[in-house]
Amino acid sequence: MSEKAKEEKAYRVLESHGFLQRVVFRYMLEGHAASEEGKLAWVTSGFPVEIPVAMDVGVSYPEQYGAVIGSEKAGPKLCGYAEELGYSQELCSYARASIGSVKHPEESPLEGLPAPQALLACNNICGTVLRWYDAISQMTGAPVFLVDTPPLEGEQLPHHIAYVRHGLDDLVSFLSEQFGTTLEEDKLREVTDLATETIGVWTQCLEACKNKPSPLNCADRFLAMAPVVAIRGRDYTLEYYQMLLNEVKDRVTNGLGAIRDEKVRLLWDNIPPWFRVFRIMGSLAKRGVVFPADTYTHAWTGSFKDEDRMDSIASMYSNVYLNKGLEAKVDKMCGLIKDYDLDGFVMFSVRSCKRYSLGQLVSKELVSERTGVPGVVIEGDMVDSRLQNDAQIETRLDALLEMLL
């Protein structure tokens, strides 16, 4: 693209995205290599991944692959294959797309995820993941291990940490038996230190969006989050985030926003519709709408403390956004609206992600009441475009903007 054409787009493309693509490509190759060696585990997005990584077990993320399926617009086809097997359309579309892609890898983007030798689920993000992995286990023969993190209301009590910690110890035994490896404390410390440092740099990128204009938009963060979710404990992940942070700082120093003419700043709540997110964000960018914060990419923050590392892992993974009550979600949204000086919020009600979408109607009222800014709930899905009506979404977003502009 010529420099002039770049200048004219409402949206500024990040230079570091080229490096991001290489990082993700390398991660994919590592996944295939691990699978061929018989050392690959599939993990859920909130799984305490530092443990398998420290035990030299490769990891792949079916939820992230679900996002790829969504972006490639292959959701209806692959979800349809799962439905042919008898799964309901009410089931999570990440699960359906994953089951469909295992059934028909030849019709899946990148020919499917590499075959797993273990399936590691953590129910801190939802309960469906266990049954989903059970289904994949039936199809692939890989055994399932569950790390159980009971939902938290309020502060985490010592017995809760002890319970989750017990599950993590069992995980280590499971991985040792399955893959013939051991967990060295030094290695775990090294991996968690690297993860903490990476999350720290990522958090700085997020917090830079408090600036006006915001240096990153929602869609930038949705892409840039991939390594902090999936490729923790790797030095090249840290290298990528340092590069992103430098670019973000440059933008802030030079007063450059993610979009050219920032007029309205909004909060995004929930997983995006992967098949449509860039179109929605692009068309809103043309009207001066930017999303400096969202609850989704802010879910991968925090740090491992210098206490007993296993206890710290137990604590961090129990306290993830989706494992907490409605009050914590409302507090988080109100906090982001205040800290990032936002004018309103958009809550995406994801038909197939019940855990994230539950309570949105109530929280919309509470957030508006506490912050004084208006919001709107739009409906659709992250992967299955059959569950989305674009005209209804446009009308709701337009009406919100007419209240703000």
Binding site: L361, P374, V376, E379, T395, D398, A399, E402, M403
Partner: protein, 259 residues
């Protein structure tokens, strides 16, 4: 002058107003399969009715087909347009319930006639005009006959499903068990009123409340909605035209802003 065109899922409405917002001409036609064609047709009708040259008149489009009107100077959502339209007719209205062919909206109107909060039905067509059209077909009456039929009922039967497809099966079941058409029709209206009442409570019921859209012409719906909300409802003389009227008023404002 200003022209407002409201391209709804069932009907397209056109309103021409003078500079004071007084209606000079208004027309309603079926939208049909091509929204842009409906817009052209309704403009032609307004030209005939007013016998004026409307070529340069400021025009705002609204409704689901709003972006299809190439000759419109601006498109604005029906949420804003209905608020402005109703406010111009009755400035005291605080809550507006608009039930159209494809969706139902509940809008809180601020002191300046602009929306301050709103909720729309979910993707399901239950609680919309389409729901009543489907039920009228099953009961073998016209859509205009459905409301009066329901008002004859003394013992409305319970329609528990809020999904149009399931409710249709439920109605067919009731017919099969010998329930009278009047009682079934009343149950259908009660179910719809209950759904919209829930939507209204989410925004916050506030008096006085107005009802607009094609469904506002249905006396049984208004009767059961009034009971469900426990308040009187104000219905404009032409409840289907308020969106187009609001668009026309916004067209005047737009023209004076650009002058």
């Amino acid at each position: 002058m200003g022209i407002g065109l409201d391209l709804g899922s069932s009907t397209t409405k056109g309103v021409l107003v003078d500079k004071n917002g007084k209606i000079i001409a208004a027309r309603l036609i079926p939208t049909g399969a091509i929204a842009s064609k409906a817009a052209e047709n309704v403009l032609e009708e307004l030209t005939k009715l007013s016998q004026l040259d409307l070529g340069d008149v400021s025009t705002v489009s609204t409704g689901y087909g709003r972006t299809q009107v190439e000759f419109a100077h601006e498109s604005i959502t029906e949420i804003t347009c209905h608020s402005v339209g109703v406010h111009s007719l009755n400035p005291g209205i605080k809550l507006l319930i608009d039930v159209g062919g494809q969706d139902s909206k509940v809008i809180r109107i601020g002191s300046k006639g602009r929306p301050t909060n709103f909720e729309l039905n979910d993707k399901c067509s239950a609680g919309t005009g389409r729901f009543l059209e489907v039920m009228a077909r099953v009961l073998e009456v016209s859509i205009d006959e459905l409301g009066p039929l329901a008002l004859k009922s003394k013992f409305p039967c319970l329609i528990s499903s809020t999904c149009t497809v399931f409710a249709e099966s439920e109605v067919i079941g009731r017919i099969g068990s010998g329930e009278s058409p009047a009682n079934i029709a009343a149950g259908v209206h009660q179910a719809m009123a209950a759904k919209i009442s829930t939507l209204s409570r989410r925004v916050g019921v506030a008096s006085p409340t107005a009802v607009t859209g094609g469904v506002a012409r249905n006396p049984a719906f208004c009767h059961y909605l009034s009971a469900a909300l426990n308040c009187d409802l104000w219905i404009p003389k032409e409840p289907q035209l308020t969106g187009a009227l609001g668009a026309a008023i916004l067209a005047i404002a737009r023209a004076s802003d650009t002058e």
